[in-house]
């Protein structure tokens, strides 16, 4: 195996989760633009990752048994669902789809705990992770985000406004004309679209009234206990009699002709109020700019502040394409800002990015994915459990002494698990300390080292004296080196 050219390695770290040995064949003969097309137009690659769960030569899942069932049930058990998503990020042939799904999960950050408190563990999980068709009921929120990962943001936002998990998470289920509930009305502006500073408090009241009657209902057999019928479910329910039919006026234009007021409508037409507001927010120039800044941080750099020229360019692509995401991401990945080598390793890896890349690069033989949950929680990121609706605290905020120790010790766990496999795969090609370091750095990819840390690695490999070339020496040093490379600061950058 070998690294590819630096530009494609960078692309795969940012638009995916790094490159495993098994994936080298896929990418090694591609040009940069072919690799971008392969990632962005992912419908051309098989969506077969879930079918590969349980196959040899893949990471393993084990039933987490939250629900006292013996089976792996990722549609109703949140810890099984966490394993399935880790499996997808490691093994998907559509890495950008998983990467964007992660982006959207943070953007529409919805936490399992509140859902489970409201609806029970089983239904709480189903609300977030149910893969459509497995059981009766609508798709779980994150499955909707995956389906729409590079789709049209307008459709995604409309689906989120009707998403059962969101209706519980932001209390839309209790938003009625007698008691308008402002939670969703606020967050759709503050967090999902235009951002702070581009709406007013009266806009929040008006938005709450717009979404009155966007409520929830359970299927006839629905109960919120943990022994409920698996096929029972909750879904969006439009209740015209709970809709406030009065006029709603905003501080920003709702219609292309500049009108700011949603005129009174009959109850039966009232759903259109929400669609009008969503259309306006999606095409608001500040929404476009806000996404441009978020994607700067997600794809380009967390070290440099967003280049205003990038923000305007990306915002224009978004608006010209009527909120289609795919052309925007394609534009970003082929832009000079993205390919500028000064921006390599200029982001702080989220725990899920870090863990996935470490597993892909070091190996997954016999790795049980349920075992990554607790280390990831110690690093500060449990999937499906963002700290609040604003999502995780990104960038340097991921890092403290405790979370850094959790990362370094996860590196030890991965290296320990792959000890024998690493040695076996390296034995034919390595016959010196330098050879081991070079070979390992071809596989495990921290940011470039300064001289002192590079020297520390060589010192480590030769700490017992000159290289002897025994199998036990290689077994020990390859694992120790993998631990040092994955656990060091340089590896926390992507």
């Amino acid at each position: 195996m070998a690294r590819l050219n630096p530009e494609i390695d960078h692309l795969l770290r940012r638009a995916g989760f790094g490159l495993s040995a098994a994936e080298v064949d896929t990418y090694q003969d591609m040009s940069y633009s072919e690799a971008v097309a392969h990632l962005v137009d992912y419908e051309g690659s098989p969506d077969d990752v879930d079918e590969r769960i349980g196959r040899p030569d893949h990471a393993r899942v084990i039933p987490a048994k939250n629900t006292m069932r013996e089976l792996f049930q990722p549609d109703i058990d949140i810890d099984d669902a966490r394993q399935r998503w880790m499996f997808r990020m490691i093994h998907s042939r559509r890495p950008l789809q998983e990467k964007m799904t992660l982006f959207w999960h943070n953007h529409f950050a919805t936490g399992y705990s509140k859902l489970a408190t409201d609806s029970g563990m089983l239904q709480g999980a189903k609300l977030l992770v149910h893969k459509p068709g497995v059981l009766n009921g609508p798709a779980g929120q994150v499955e909707t985000l995956r389906k729409q990962a590079l789709g049209n943001f307008r459709n995604m936002l409309l689906e989120m406004a009707k998403d059962a998990a969101m209706l519980i998470w932001l209390d839309g289920q209790s938003n009625t004309k007698a008691r308008p509930q402002e939670n969703f009305g606020r967050e759709i502006m503050e967090l999902f679209t235009v951002g702070v500073g581009h709406y007013t408090e009266p806009d929040v009241y008006a938005a709450a009234r717009v979404f009155t009657g966007w409520n929830l209902r359970g299927s006839t057999n629905y109960t919120n206990d943990d022994y409920a019928d698996l096929n029972s479910y909750q879904e969006f329910s439009w209740r015209p009699d709970q809709h406030d039919t009065g006029a709603k006026t905003f501080s920003f234009p709702i219609y292309p002709d500049g009108r700011r007021t949603i005129q009174p409508r009959s109850e039966s037409d009232g759903l259109q109020d929400g669609i009008d507001l969503i259309n306006a927010l999606v095409m608001h120039p500040e929404t476009a700019r806000r996404f441009a800044r978020k994607w700067w941080n997600f794809f380009i750099s967390e070290i440099q502040t967003p280049d205003p020229a990038f923000v305007e360019a990306v915002a224009n692509v978004y608006l010209q394409n009527r909120s289609e995401i795919r052309p925007v991401i394609r534009f970003i990945l082929t832009s000079p800002w993205f390919t500028d080598s000064a921006n390599y390793f200029a982001r702080f890896a989220w725990p899920v990015e870090y863990v996935t890349r470490a597993i892909k690069e070091v190996g997954w033989q016999n790795l049980e994915l349920d075992k990554v949950r607790s280390p990831m929680a110690a690093m500060g990121q449990l999937l499906y459990e963002p700290p609040n609706v604003a999502g995780w605290h990104l960038g340097v905020d991921w890092f403290s002494t405790g979370t850094m120790l959790a990362r370094a010790n996860f590196a030890a766990t991965v290296a320990a698990g792959q000890k024998e496999f690493l040695a076996a795969s390296l034995l034919p090609q390595v016959n010196s300390a330098d050879g081991l370091l070079t070979t390992m750095l071809n596989r495990v990819t921290p940011a470039p080292f300064d001289q002192a840390p590079q020297q520390a690695l060589t010192t480590y490999l030769l700490a017992d004296g000159p290289w002897r070339g025994t199998e036990s020496e290689l077994t020990t040093r390859a694992a120790g080196l993998a631990r040092l490379l994955v656990g060091c600061s340089e590896y926390q950058l992507v």
Partner: protein, 419 residues
């Protein structure tokens, strides 16, 4: 310099600690960061909802025995603590002999009927309410996290020490990370190897983290965190090598308090320690006659806390140490059909330590239906003392910070004068 090696194996990962003396400047930083540098708070959370009516018992209340025919503690077994302000004669559970001794020394405060209006009966929401100190919005940061945010920056990495695996809501903060160190002897540098190679890895990691990374400030920042972690390891290792003056019960709770004692005695400098003991969700089979499942819970609690207090007192550190004990709610007054109790409302908080003014605070519930100390059709105990007033007392009078911004309000009125 003498170096002793201790190797641990967990999940196939060897870990190694070096028993080096912690760099004294680190402890100095920790101690300089507070106005009362030696004072510390140890929190004991009883997970699941403690049945306070069987912790501190109104043993002359006939209604207590009528409503709990199979789980009441017999009057002859209770450890008497005297009569409270309402004239109720009270006694501790017979398994709390250690706490009874501390009470008799005047160092255990029992704050009866603590809670808040419209008490939540949901474990999740109620524990978050106690954690955030906010019954209206329990999804914010924690009260102790907000306390840590008041400490000067850069914050010492061990300003607080969580002995459980997951960070409780009370310790959550936007600015102050709290390490989770359930067991000091496994808060160590993980390695895929053992022995010499593991030590060599650690030396290499330390050297790599010492690189100033000139021209790459973001990398320098990460190296700072890595260095902090490695240097923290040595301070934590000191705590794990502590030899206590008493025998701690051989259960998880007792051992976590032993770890806390080690950290305190070895001068780690943490201001807040978080411990927990679970199993309090006693819906069924609670046990009668002062024994059974609930008796076991009381034995675990009393044995652990008494050992810890005695140990710390023997070390001459009791006057700087305060322990609080709480649970997310208490339980229904009447036992249910499975000889257990369901989720209830107000309960007892305990505050103990060498500086605590011990005694019975507040008034006990009187369990005859219709009594004003009850609520919910006399099914539950009505709160008398807002738990946030106890927090306020601890913040203002013990930790030495203004409680008002931390608790988002002034809860000093009616606070029990435990300090």
């Amino acid at each position: 310099m003498s170096v002793s090696r201790r190797i641990f194996i967990r999940d196939g990962v060897a870990t190694v600690t070096l028993s080096l003396a912690a760099p004294s400047f680190l402890t100095a930083i920790a101690q300089a960061q507070s106005s009362n540098p030696n004072r510390r708070l140890v929190v004991v959370y009883l997970g699941g909802g403690n049945d306070s009516l069987n912790t501190i018992i109104g043993y002359r209340d006939a209604a207590y025995y009528n409503r709990r025919p199979s789980i009441a503690v017999p009057a002859g077994q209770v450890l008497q603590v005297g009569t409270d302000a309402s004239g109720m004669a009270m006694g501790l559970h017979p398994q709390l002999a250690g706490l009874h001794a501390i009470f008799n020394e005047g160092r255990l405060a029992l704050v009866q009927r603590t809670g808040y209006p419209n008490s939540s009966r949901s474990h999740f929401e109620a524990s978050d309410i106690w954690g955030t100190a906010n019954p209206q919005n329990s999804t914010t940061s924690g009260w102790l996290g907000r306390y840590l945010d008041t400490l000067p920056r850069p914050l010492d990495a061990l300003a607080a020490w969580n002995t459980t695996g997951e960070t409780p809501r009370a310790l959550l903060s936007g600015q102050s990370g709290v390490p989770a160190i359930p067991n000091a002897s496994t808060y160590t540098f993980g390695s895929p190897n053992r022995g010499q190679a593991a030590l060599q890895e650690r030396a290499a990691a330390q050297t790599m983290a010492t690189n100033p990374a000139a021209g790459r400030p973001h990398l320098a920042y990460l190296n700072g965190a890595s260095r902090g972690a490695i240097e923290t390891l040595d301070r934590v290792a000191q705590a794990s090598q502590y030899t206590p003056t008493v025998a701690y019960p051989n259960n998880g709770f007792g051992q976590s308090l032993r770890t806390v004692a080690g950290a305190i005695v070895r001068g780690v400098g943490s201001r807040v320690y978080w411990t927990t003991t679970g199993g309090y969700d006693t819906h069924a089979g609670q046990g009668g006659g002062g024994g059974g499942a609930y008796g076991q819970l009381m034995a675990t609690l009393g044995g652990g806390v008494a050992a810890f207090y005695t140990d710390i007192r023997n070390q001459g550190l009791a006057a700087d140490t305060t322990i609080i004990v709480f649970s997310e709610f208490s339980r229904r007054i009447s036992e249910n059909g499975s000889a257990g109790t369901d989720h209830g409302a107000a309960g007892v908080m305990m505050v103990l330590g060498g500086a605590v003014r011990g005694g019975l605070y507040g008034t006990a519930p009187q369990l005859s239906p219709g009594h004003p100390t009850l609520e919910n059709n006399s099914g539950d105990v009505r709160f008398e003392t807002d738990f946030r007033s106890v927090y306020a007392r601890i913040l203002d009078n013990w930790l030495g910070v203004n409680s008002v911004p931390i608790l988002n309000g002034d809860f000093r009125a009616g606070a029990p004068a435990v300090f």
